[in-house]
């Protein structure tokens, strides 16, 4: 998928004015993707309650258009919420590969970011050894404000991605 869309871009470069079309398409795509992040939440630890509250009454992530979804095929974003063990990391990778392009990963909390309180465990791994992470949200657990700020940083990142088609290689 990634290579195909790059191919399309190169093959149309000779058309005069194609650059303007690319930038318009990029702008519209960035706008739509920015406001329509559907995350699947992989809650493996105690950041879960904070994540629930982020979708809940006081903080309401849906204001930003972020709608948690059940099936990974329709999602754009994995939120890894909580400690990732070596066995679980394989599942994170499966989930990542089942998701359609463009796809993003958010690491919520200290454990998936850098093993957190389990720094000397034989089993815990940082999630970015397995999948490319876009945004790290620190905290143990991070407060809902922090999670929302992380999602807003992800929105900025999506908006500023200037490529037709896909984000990742």
């Amino acid at each position: 998928m990634a290579e195909e869309s790059c191919e399309l871009k190169r093959s149309l470069d000779w058309v005069p004015g194609s650059g303007a079309v690319y930038s318009v398409v990029d702008y519209v795509a960035g706008w739509a993707r920015k406001y329509s992040i559907w995350p699947i939440h992989l809650v493996t630890g105690c950041c879960g309650p904070e994540f629930m509250q982020t979708s809940g009454v006081q903080y309401d992530m849906e204001r930003l258009g972020i709608l948690p979804f059940a099936s990974v095929r329709q999602c754009d974003c994995i939120m890894v919420v909580g400690v990732v063990s070596r066995k679980m990391a394989l599942r994170v990778k499966y989930l990542y590969e089942q998701m359609g392009e463009p796809k993003y990963v958010v690491s919520v909390g200290a454990c998936p970011t850098g093993r957190g309180p389990f720094y000397d465990s034989y089993a815990a791994v940082p999630v970015d050894e397995y999948v490319p992470v876009d945004v790290y949200i620190p905290g143990c657990p991070p407060r809902p404000e922090a999670i929302i700020q992380g999602m807003m940083i992800l929105q900025e990142k999506i908006k500023n991605t200037k490529r037709i088609g896909v984000k990742s290689e």
């Binding site: 795509a29 329509s36 009454v57 204001r63 095929r73």
Partner: protein
Amino acid sequence: MNVNILASIWNYATEFLAVNAKPLLQIYVLPGLIFILGFAIIAVWFERKFLARAMLRVGPYYCGKRSGVLQVFADFLKLFMKEIIVPKDMNFLFFAAMPVLVSTVPALALILIPFDANWVLWDIGSLGLPMFFAIAGIAPLIPIFAGWASNNKYGFIGAFRVAYMYISAEIPLVICGAAVAIMAGSFDLVEIVQAQRNMWFAVPQFIGFVIFFLGVIIESERTPFDIPVAEVELVLGWRTEYSGILFGFTMMAEYVMFQAWTLLFITLYLGGFNGPVLGFLGVTGSHIFWMLAKFAFMVVLIVLIRTVYPRLRLDQMLDLGWKYLTPLALLNLALVLGMKMLGVY
């Protein structure tokens, strides 16, 4: 020469438009394209906002200047530009045709609904009600094929649940439809509406009214009965494998189905297009206005039901369908026959 050709094309076009203005308007605006798409867009936004307000949340807010009115467009564009994943060893055509069919077949049923005595897109007289049930009876086959095509265990279980649910719901619905046809003395939807000029059929057939209301929610897979796409137990039911715009089509299908069945419900029980004539709209305009007003009321009611009630289990749903709705529908039919024989109606 060129001017002559252009002038004749212009004449032909104006004549064509003048002759076919009403059918074109019907196809593209009222029971047709703009009504279906506009309803899907407005209803998704309204439902998300209404659910959020009922849960004391805000709902979509930042997309669009006020109240997230552009949220649905953002979602649609994103789905349109997303990768479509096709699982291995699969007939792509069969897999991809089902989401398209699932939103177009219920739209076919929509063209039978009378918005006025002379505003029916496909007026087939006394075949109207049987044809509606026939077209709407094809519709559940498509989710079954979709679940089969996606070759996934959750999709397959969801497809079987669709089959269970529709069979247990459609029998009471058809019996209620028969009772309405007996009371009106015709299968013609326009005549059914005109028979309710003095009193809506919701009053003499109160049992059938309640059954049909439940049936509308069941047929459109709304929340107290969204068993085939149960989000927590089956990942997304028969929609599990669909990604990108194909998933967008399956989402739209829910709303088209909802639209067709709700309009039939209004036609059969809530007096259809009957209503006081509003002077500034004319007769046809006020009939269309009353139809749309009743439709909007029903939409709000059914979304409100979604906010309040949890989902039934599959066995509870089958109990409801076979042990309660079907005998009550037969009782309703018997009452209607009694009223007819005693000459009350």
